[in-house]
Amino acid sequence: MAKGIDIIKLCNMTKLEIPEQNIPEISRKVEEVLLMFDKLDEFTTEDSTVPSIEDLKFEMAFENLRDDEPRPTVESSEGPQLKFKLKNIKDGFILGPRI
């Protein structure tokens, strides 16, 4: 059963800062939903024809993949490509935090 979830560890993993006073509430909510997820445990089947996960995955023939061609420099009917304005640029680089 979904008790004793380590919320702090989960927050570190997902890079989410949750104020300490909110931890009990969010923990309660996570556990409540995980309890609902446990419904899946009730599902068992002996049916050997049960489809695998792959059944739902879309398929695409290798031949239809994108050709290895660089995009033309002149833009199409869409008009000139909007140069994306990245945040916090320094000499063309994106400013990042300390590593």
Partner: protein, 505 residues
């Protein structure tokens, strides 16, 4: 006390090799250039490789082809369908904070699996002491997978603590990488080094990457000693460092074992300056990659005919070329290996053959003369870590062909030929030109040639008699003259004079 035997505990080394497919035009999932190396920072990007909201990956067909060529070279199985997974982890060089890759734990998704490669063994004198050709072996390949490269983080100050911020360039983000994971089948750092040299060569044969580009082929290592826990080493900049890092890690682990301290399964970084490995993170931390199937890329159906089609795209592999040299050209195995072990040298050889089809003679010139020169330069530290020396010499295949031809057809004495060849390499002038130039001084001096011939005939009076039955005698005399004059005689004139004098004798 512990009971490690005297011969030392068993050593197991495995590799994770990352090969950028630099010969592609575009990135793995978008049509930005695969060649990111010439662009100003962040110019070689688009909404897809920057991971802008709402963008979807569009898989590069040729990348799949290139990856499967690598699989075939490593004798891997290629499944009829492949799929992609997301490896979730945060890092500032990763635009989406996940990497699109392949993953075989939940299903067989990767482009290649369960291969093996004979590794020929090192015959090149580059890694001196390791010339033990018994080192060769079979390395098993666990899997080959296709994935994207992240961006690059740099700093203004060398010492990272001195920096208040980092600088990120996403030009590399999304470039195609093929990861080749070997089983831990290596038992020495030297074997690893030899193997790496060979597979870099293999990549070049396949035409999928240019290994001379910095960072195009990279390698992580895992090392375990005495059946202990596996330690991974990342962050290794060159193959020389790979070898060093393994040596360090072996010593470190042996020391721990000696003191009865457990070796922790972890990832360590190679500190190139201090030449030590540093703990980076524990296994528990890194196992939370939360892999799951990439929902934006459908399963790719390669189909039953895919493998046979890729086969037709395969260039001649080193091992096949080796066989051809030995069987068709009758070159010795030793010489053939040296040629084949470096695609550029081997191609140089093939090109030379177009000017003069004499494989044995030409191969000898390349292996004995040219490569010796290159190795000399190499020792002087004139070549970069991944590039090969051919570039530093201004020598063309036609020059080599000419010299071989001169020796064979005009019976140029080897010593002299060697000198002419040296000169030719140094100056880039064709050997014929050099000879012609030498001849100019001599043409006016028929008298001295006659003098030399006379001397020879005096010291070996049997020659005129012998030449009646053996036309080679004339060539023999010419050789003596060349030796005497260190090649400064016009062979045509000399031949004419020899004939005259022998006949008149």
């Amino acid at each position: 006390m512990n009971n490690i035997k005297k011969m030392g505990p068993e050593l197991k080394i495995g590799l994770e090799i990352h090969c950028q497919l630099t010969n592609l035009q575009t990135k793995l999932f978008c049509d930005c250039l695969s060649n990111y190396r010439n662009s100003p920072p962040n110019e070689n990007t688009c909404p897809i490789c920057l991971g802008l909201p709402g963008t979807l990956p569009l898989l590069n067909k040729r990348a799949v082809e290139f990856a499967s060529m690598i699989c075939m070279a490593f004798n891997c199985n290629i499944p009829e369908e492949i799929s992609f997974y997301r490896k979730n982890y945060f890092y500032p060089d990763l635009p989406k904070n996940y990497q699109t890759t392949q993953y075989n734990s939940y299903e067989l998704s990767s482009i290649g699996y369960e291969g093996s490669i004979e590794f020929v063994g090192d015959s090149k004198s580059k890694t001196d002491a390791s010339k033990d050709s018994k080192q060769r072996g079979r390395i098993r390949i666990a899997r080959v997978q296709l994935e994207e490269d992240p961006g690059k983080i740099t700093y203004e100050e060398d010492k990272s603590a001195a920096n208040n911020y980092s600088l990120i360039d996403y030009n590399r983000a999304g470039v195609s990488l093929v990861e080749i994971v070997t089983e831990p089948d290596f038992s020495s750092p030297i074997a690893v080094r030899g193997f790496l040299n060979e597979i870099v060569n293999l990549f070049e044969y396949l035409g999928v990457t240019d290994p001379s580009l910095e960072g195009s082929v990279r390698c992580d290592v895992n090392v375990s000693v005495g059946g202990g826990k596996k330690v991974e080493i990342k962050n290794i900049s060159s193959f020389k460092e790979v070898e060093k890092s393994i040596y360090y890690e072996i010593t470190r682990q042996k020391t721990l074992i000696m003191h009865e301290i457990d070796v922790k399964p972890e990832t360590r970084h190679w500190d190139e300056k201090r030449k030590v490995t540093i703990a980076a993170r524990s296994k528990e931390e890194e196992e939370e990659y939360r892999y799951f199937p990439e929902p934006d890329i459908p399963r790719i159906i390669l189909g039953g005919k895919f493998v046979s089609r890729v086969k037709t795209l395969m260039p001649e592999l080193p091992i096949e070329r080796l066989q051809r040299y030995i069987e068709v050209y009758k070159i010795t195995e030793h010489t053939a290996k040296i040629l084949v072990n470096d695609k550029r040298i081997s191609d140089f050889f093939e090109e030379s053959l177009r000017y003069h089809k004499s494989p044995i003679e030409i191969s000898n010139w390349i292996v004995n003369e040219l490569l010796t020169k290159i190795n000399e330069k190499d020792r002087q530290g004139l070549t970069d870590h991944n590039t090969r020396g051919l570039d530093i010499l201004s020598v063309s295949p036609s020059q080599v062909a000419e010299i071989a031809k001169l020796v064979e057809v005009k019976a140029l004495n080897r010593t002299i030929a060697r000198e002419i060849f040296d000169k030719s390499i140094e100056t880039g002038t064709s050997p014929l030109k050099i000879i012609e130039n030498l001849e100019i001084e001599k043409i006016s001096d028929e008298a001295s040639i006659i003098k030399i011939i006379q001397d020879i005939l005096i010291s070996q009076p049997q020659l005129p008699e012998q030449s009646r039955n053996n036309p080679n005698v004339i060539n023999y005399v010419l050789g003596l003259i060349m030796k005497e004059t260190r090649g400064r005689v016009n062979p045509q004139i000399a031949l004419k004079l020899i004939k005259q004098m022998i006949e008149s004798n």
